[in-house]
């Protein structure tokens, strides 16, 4: 049952992506990208990654769509016809895609228990209730055991805000 749901969702994702690539209306592209994020959030939900699904739905489908629309408000809403040949971008995209596929081939098979990630999991599940008293293992790992990583992520968010403010904020009216 789960694999059927995943197959349907992935097919819809592919269909939405083809539509995003083919449309010339940027407004439609933004709405389709938002739909893409909602489908992606559903995929995460089926894979039991509820935290990631919530983030994807709130940030990917909600806030990024609003930011894209704000950017569209400042420009035109239809894509201009390309001025140069698409060969160079095509080559860059092709090489990047090939490199990503090459990288994916090195990942462990999906759902295999032997990977380092899954070897550490039972250890955390055994330790978390006694050591932290926090029932949600994800929160305990992110907040406590991997506190440094989460601090780093917060600094990344902070740096993102700084960069956008430095670029977009008008100085002194």
């Amino acid at each position: 049952m789960e694999s059927i749901v995943i197959l349907v969702l992935l097919t819809l994702l592919a269909a939405v992506l083809v539509a995003v690539v083919r449309t010339r209306s940027l407004f439609a592209a933004v709405v389709l990208l938002s739909a893409f994020s909602f489908l992606m959030a559903s995929v995460m939900l089926v894979l039991d990654a509820v935290d990631v699904a919530m983030t994807e739905a709130a940030v990917g489908a909600g806030i990024s769509a609003v930011l894209f629309l704000s950017a569209l408000h400042l420009t035109k809403t239809t894509e201009a016809p390309p001025r140069r040949s698409a060969l160079l971008p095509l080559a860059v995209a092709g090489i990047t895609g090939a490199a990503l596929l090459f990288g994916v081939s090195d990942l462990p098979p999906f759902g295999i228990a032997e990977t380092p990630m899954h070897r550490a999991g039972p250890d955390y599940i055994a330790r978390v209730p006694a050591e932290t008293g926090i029932p949600n293992v994800v929160t305990a790992v992110l907040g406590s055991y991997r506190g440094f990583d989460t601090l780093g992520e917060t600094v990344v968010v902070f740096a993102g805000a700084l960069a956008v403010l430095a670029l977009l904020k008008r100085r002194g009216g």
């Binding site: 983030t55 709130a58 400042l74 932290t132 601090l151 902070f158």
Partner: protein
């Protein structure tokens, strides 16, 4: 005549629910899914929705620009300060065992404060980016 009455009424209905849900995700993160990042994004989404329906200036009266720009570094500082508090109490950086009378309560306090720091920075960053984008379209 304004035609956005449906939007306005729907936004008024949904906004309190969004804010309460953000609080739930923040404070129930120890038990269910969620945490500071998700809660910050949802709360920022609520304010952004308010800004979209009622105008940017209304949103900026609710959460002033100065407050947003103070909160962006404040969250990181809260997070880092929890680590320093651990250091001062004779533990490792970002180790929460000694923040309370026993290790389990210390961990709960540490994670709670750290998630609060994440919430503050994520919430204000989303809003700062929205304000920066939306503010550019307005000619003064």
């Amino acid at each position: 005549m304004r035609l956005d009455i449906v939007l306005r009424v729907a936004a008024k209905l949904i906004l309190p629910l969004m804010l309460v849900f953000a609080l739930y995700v923040q404070f129930h993160g120890d038990y269910g899914p969620g945490g500071g990042f998700q809660a910050g994004a949802i709360a920022a989404g609520a304010v952004i929705l308010y800004g979209l329906v009622y105008g940017l200036s209304a949103a900026q009266r609710l959460v002033p620009v100065a407050a947003v720009e103070t909160m962006v570094p404040l969250g990181v500082l809260v997070f880092a300060a929890v680590g320093v508090a651990g250091l001062l109490l004779g533990d490792n950086y970002l180790d929460y065992d000694k923040l309370a009378h026993d290790a389990v309560h210390g961990q709960e306090w540490g994670v709670f404060l750290v998630e609060a720091g994440v919430f503050i920075t994520v919430f204000s960053t989303m809003l700062a980016i929205f304000y920066a984008f939306a503010g550019r379209g307005i000619k003064e």
